[in-house]
Every structure is written in structure tokens, then in C-alpha cells.
């Protein structure tokens, strides 16, 4: 059996990511551990968005909301001296999923531009809520007192240990996502994206499946938010700014919608370019913008489509 290019790309990607901490150590460039960890955290957020945007056809323009909720869950617990990571992260996931449930129940009844506007509006509400929380720093945000503690199991203050926790979670979500979109559940939301009247006519009631996907994606992104708070050791309403939602969406489209792996690539490339270009010039967005336009125009299936085309 021939091994597909896709499988080779995936295996190579996983190995390369696993090699980042030792290589950075050899080169005495610890900064790269930090950068790639950040990429992987956003990769989790982006692949959760791909579930609903790519597979479910729900153009959520408010995915940063869950990033913020997850981060605030960790930050607020830490503020009151509760640093148990199991508790913090569980609440981050549960609170994000609960918010997604509320937003989803209202937004999934609509489609197209209305769906975009409702998801955007909810996220703006949460953004302004964050600004108004003076106790937690208002619009300045506040530093995270300590990183999440895991009863001596793993120490997130160790940059490499934290890195491998994030890598393991990313790989876990890739696996879960893959299984989910190919299972019956995934087939329902994919068929509804493809042709909802037809899906209804053959007997699917897509609403609850789309809602469930929306909630799962929210919960997964909430965990990414919990990771992000630990990454930056700071939390701010900016996590929920609408440009952040746009960035996550760009990672999905740049990497390739409906591929799960594409959004990971998209997160790595987007944040990587941001890092490289911003070192060259402060007007780096002038270079990044046209690059994104070219990719969207000429690579319909995104960057992952270019590198994984099975020949």
C-alpha cells in the first residue's frame, strides 16, 4: 500500500514540532519554544473553528469569545488563589461550551450574513464585558498570578514541559476531530452544509447536530484560551477582540478549510510570518496582506491543499 503524501506531511509535521524544544536548546534560542507553543495554541483554536466553519458551514465570526472565556476562567481562579489546573481547565471548557450553547441556539436558526453578525455581536458583548470588569484589570487586563498547577504531574513553568502538553493536546484534538468528522455525526453536519433542504428531506433534523458541533468547537477553543492565559501569563479583553476572531478565521482559510490539518498549518504560517515580517519592518502587514490574498485566490484548498495533494 502506498503511503499518501498527506500521511507523510502529517508525520513530518508532528516530528518537526516535537523537535522544536531540543533544537531551540541547542541553538540557545529559547524564544522559539515560546513562539511554536503559541502557534500550536492558536492551531487548536483554528481547528475547532474548522469543525463548524469548514465542515458545518457555520461562518462564526466570534470564535475569539471562547478564547477569552477560557483565558478568564484560568485568570479569575488564579486571582482568587485557586491554581488547580484540572479545575481551571475544566471550568474553561465548560464555561465556553455553555456560552457556545447560548450563542448557538440563537444564531444557528439564521444563516449567511445574519449568522456572522449574531456571532460577532455576542463576542463584542463579551469583549465589552471584559473591559468593564474593573476587578480583573478592565481594559488593561491583569497578569496571571501563577500558571495552572497539576499536582506535581507536570510543571508548566518548565517551557519544554508546557510545550509538550500543548503538542499532546493538539495531536489529541486532531485525532478526535478526524474521527468525529468521518463518523455519523460529522456526516450529518457535512451533508447539511452541502445541501440543508436535501438533508432535511431525507430525514435529518440538522439543528441539534449543528448545535452540538458548535458547542464542541466552543469547548475546544475554551481550552485553547486556558492555554493562552498560561502562555502569555496575562489576560486581557483583547483576546476577545473581533480582529482576533478574524485572525483565527484567516488561519483556517489560509491553511485550508475542511482539512483539520490545514488550520494547524495556517496558524503556524500566519504567526510565523507575523514574527519574521515584524522583525523586518513595522509595516509588515503591507506584505502579509497581499500574501494572504494570493493564497486565497490561487490555492482554493489552502496551503495544506498544495502540500498534501495525493498524486
Amino acid at each position: 500500500m502506498a503511503i499518501s503524501r498527506r500521511a507523510i506531511v502529517l508525520a513530518a509535521g508532528a516530528v518537526l514540532l516535537a523537535l522544536v524544544p531540543p533544537v531551540a536548546g541547542l541553538l540557545n534560542q529559547p524564544f522559539y519554544v515560546d513562539l511554536f507553543r503559541r502557534m500550536m495554541i492558536f492551531a487548536i483554536a483554528a481547528l475547532s473553528l474548522d469543525l463548524i466553519l469548514g465542515y458545518g458551514g457555520m461562518v462564526s465570526f466570534g470564535h475569539a469569545a471562547y478564547l477569552g472565556i477560557g483565558a478568564y476562567a484560568v485568570g479569575i481562579f488564579a486571582f482568587y488563589g485557586v491554581d488547580n489546573g484540572f479545575l481551571q481547565w475544566s471550568v474553561a471548557i465548560a464555561a465556553s461550551a455553555a456560552a457556545a450553547l447560548v450563542i448557538g441556539v440563537i444564531s444557528i436558526r439564521t444563516s449567511g450574513v445574519y449568522f456572522i453578525m449574531i456571532t460577532l455581536a455576542f463576542t463584542q458583548m463579551l469583549y465589552y464585558l471584559g473591559i468593564s470588569l474593573e476587578t480583573y484589570g478592565g481594559d488593561n487586563g491583569m497578569p496571571l498570578k501563577t500558571r495552572s498547577q497539576f499536582a506535581g504531574l507536570v510543571d508548566l513553568r518548565n517551557p519544554s514541559a508546557f510545550y509538550y502538553v500543548v503538542l499532546a493536546l493538539l495531536l489529541l484534538f486532531l485525532l478526535l476531530g478526524r474521527r468525529l468528522v468521518d463518523a455519523r455525526f460529522g456526516m450529518v453536519i457535512r451533508s447539511a452544509r452541502s445541501n440543508e433542504p436535501r438533508a432535511r428531506a431525507i430525514g435529518f433534523a440538522p439543528f441539534r447536530y449543528k448545535l452540538a458541533a458548535f458547542v464542541l468547537a466552543g469547548g475546544a477553543c475554551g481550552l485553547a484560551g486556558a492555554l493562552l492565559a498560561n502562555q502569555t501569563e496575562y489576560l486581557t479583553p483583547d483576546f476577545m477582540h473581533w480582529t482576533r476572531s478574524g485572525e483565527i478565521m484567516f488561519m483556517v482559510i489560509l491553511g485550508g478549510m475542511r482539512t483539520l490539518f490545514g488550520p494547524v498549518l495556517g496558524a503556524v504560517v500566519l504567526l510565523g510570518l507575523e514574527d519574521v515580517l515584524s522583525a523586518l519592518t513595522e509595516h509588515w502587514q503591507i506584505i502579509l496582506g497581499p500574501f494572504l490574498v494570493v493564497v486565497v485566490l490561487f490555492a482554493k484548498r489552502g496551503l495544506f491543499g498544495l502540500v498534501s495533494r495525493d498524486g
Binding site: 463518523a183 456526516m187 445541501n195 431525507i202
Partner: protein, 251 residues
């Protein structure tokens, strides 16, 4: 006399000022093929939409298989055994032909909150789907992307999807529209084999197909059914000829 499989009373639907269906009464007996004919804009597709549960009626009731289904939506009616094809071909274009039919099987195999097993590896979905696909003559095209099928094949695929739900009633909205002669003949042959096995409501402009397939015909004009009868009766009905068949000229 046995209760009709589907019985419609006083069904009405207006779009703005337009009365698309106007107090429609219709009985379709179990096992018959019942054609609905009428000029464009007569409300035939609206009626199909109301029977399928896609359109909420403004007034009237629908009974199907002995129960009142007036308030049930399309997925719920599908699960009771009501299947449809659309006037404009409606398939899942980015799925294979087999996937299209397997999805229809899946929709009728309990809930779909299964998150782990790949659906494409489930024999209980694939095998019945393949059998139905073979039954409509698409067995050799199972792995072709539905978007890449010929128009006539896509219409056959729609029939296969409907059949895969094991329907008691098949609602077909212009199944041979836009087809060439050969494709039309193939579709009419396919529908002939389905007759008796399943009750059919057929909206169609192709009069050859209608008179070949139908046991009874209802004529719809301006949202109302003005006549119902055997093909011979309808052919001979003066009012129908005036309103629709156009007095001697072939449509």
C-alpha cells in the same frame, strides 16, 4: 373503503397576495400513482412542498398513514415514510453517489450522535445504499462524485436517495424535467418498476410520462384542483381541455 394514504383538506398557502394553493382537497390511495398536472404557476410545487412538510400551510390539514401530520416538519415526515425529489435537482454534490444514498440510509437508522466509527466503513449503511443504487441503475457509478454525474443520473440518484428511506409515499416534482428523450425513457421505465411497490404523487409536464404512469390524475389551476379522475376521464374533461391541455394542441 380503506383510508387514503395521504388525505389533504382545505390546504391553503399564500405568498403575499398570491394564493399558491387555495383550499386544496386531495386523496391519494395506498398503492396508486397520482399525477398532478396544470399550467406553470398553478401551485403544484407549493402543494408538494406542503405535503413534504417544507412549507407550513396557512390553513388546512394533512393526514398521512392514519395520523394528523399537519404540524410535522420535513424531517419528521421523512421518518414517517414520506420521501421527495425536488423540481431542481437536489443532491449532495461534493459527496459520492454512494455517500448520497448512504446518508439517506443513515437518516433512518436512529440518531447520529456517533462520534468515533467512520461512517464510510459501516456496512449497515453502505450495503443497503449500494443495493438501492444498483436498483436505479447507478451501481457502476457508486464512487463518482455526485456533481460529476450526468443530469439524468443525478435525477436517478435523487430517486435512489428517496427509496433508501424506505418510503410509503414518494413525492416527485418533475422527475423528467430537462431530460433528453433517452434519459426520459429510462426514468419512466424506472418509475414504472416502482409503481405498486410504493405510492407516488407525480408532478409532471411531460404528458407522455403522465399518461404512461398515472392511475389517476388531478388537474390544478390557479391553486385549486379542478378535476380528478382516471387518465381517460381527464383527457375527456372539457373544462380541463380548456384550462390546460389547450384544445387539440399537444403540450
Amino acid at each position: 373503503m380503506a383510508e387514503p394514504l395521504i388525505a389533504v383538506r382545505g390546504l391553503s398557502k399564500s405568498f403575499g397576495g398570491l394564493r399558491a394553493t387555495d383550499r386544496v382537497d386531495l386523496d391519494v390511495e395506498d398503492g396508486e400513482t397520482h399525477a398532478i398536472i396544470g399550467p406553470n404557476g398553478a401551485g403544484k410545487t407549493t402543494l408538494i412542498g406542503q405535503l413534504a412538510g417544507d412549507l407550513r400551510p396557512d390553513a388546512g390539514t394533512t393526514r398521512f398513514a392514519g395520523r394528523d401530520v399537519t404540524s410535522l416538519d420535513a424531517p419528521a415526515r421523512s421518518r414517517l415514510g414520506l420521501a421527495r425529489s425536488f423540481q431542481i435537482t437536489s443532491i449532495f454534490p461534493d459527496f459520492s453517489a454512494l455517500d448520497n444514498v448512504a446518508l439517506a440510509v443513515q437518516a433512518h437508522s436512529g440518531h447520529s450522535f456517533h462520534f468515533w466509527r467512520p461512517a464510510r466503513a459501516e456496512r449497515e449503511l453502505r450495503e443497503p445504499a449500494l443495493a438501492v443504487l444498483g436498483g436505479v441503475g447507478l451501481g457502476a457509478r457508486a464512487d463518482v462524485l455526485a456533481a460529476n454525474l450526468a443530469h439524468g443520473e443525478q435525477r436517478q440518484l435523487e430517486i435512489a436517495m428517496a427509496l433508501a428511506t424506505r418510503p410509503r409515499l414518494l413525492l416527485l416534482d418533475e422527475p423528467v424535467a430537462g431530460m433528453g428523450l433517452e434519459e426520459t425513457q429510462r426514468m419512466v421505465r424506472l418509475l414504472s418498476t416502482l409503481k405498486r411497490r410504493v405510492t407516488i404523487v407525480l408532478v409532471e409536464h411531460d404528458m407522455d410520462a403522465v399518461f404512461t404512469l398515472a392511475d389517476r390524475i388531478s388537474v390544478m389551476v390557479y391553486g385549486r384542483i379542478i378535476a380528478t379522475g382516471s387518465p381517460e376521464e381527464v383527457r375527456g374533461n372539457a373544462e380541463v381541455r380548456r384550462a390546460y391541455l389547450g384544445e387539440g394542441t399537444e403540450s
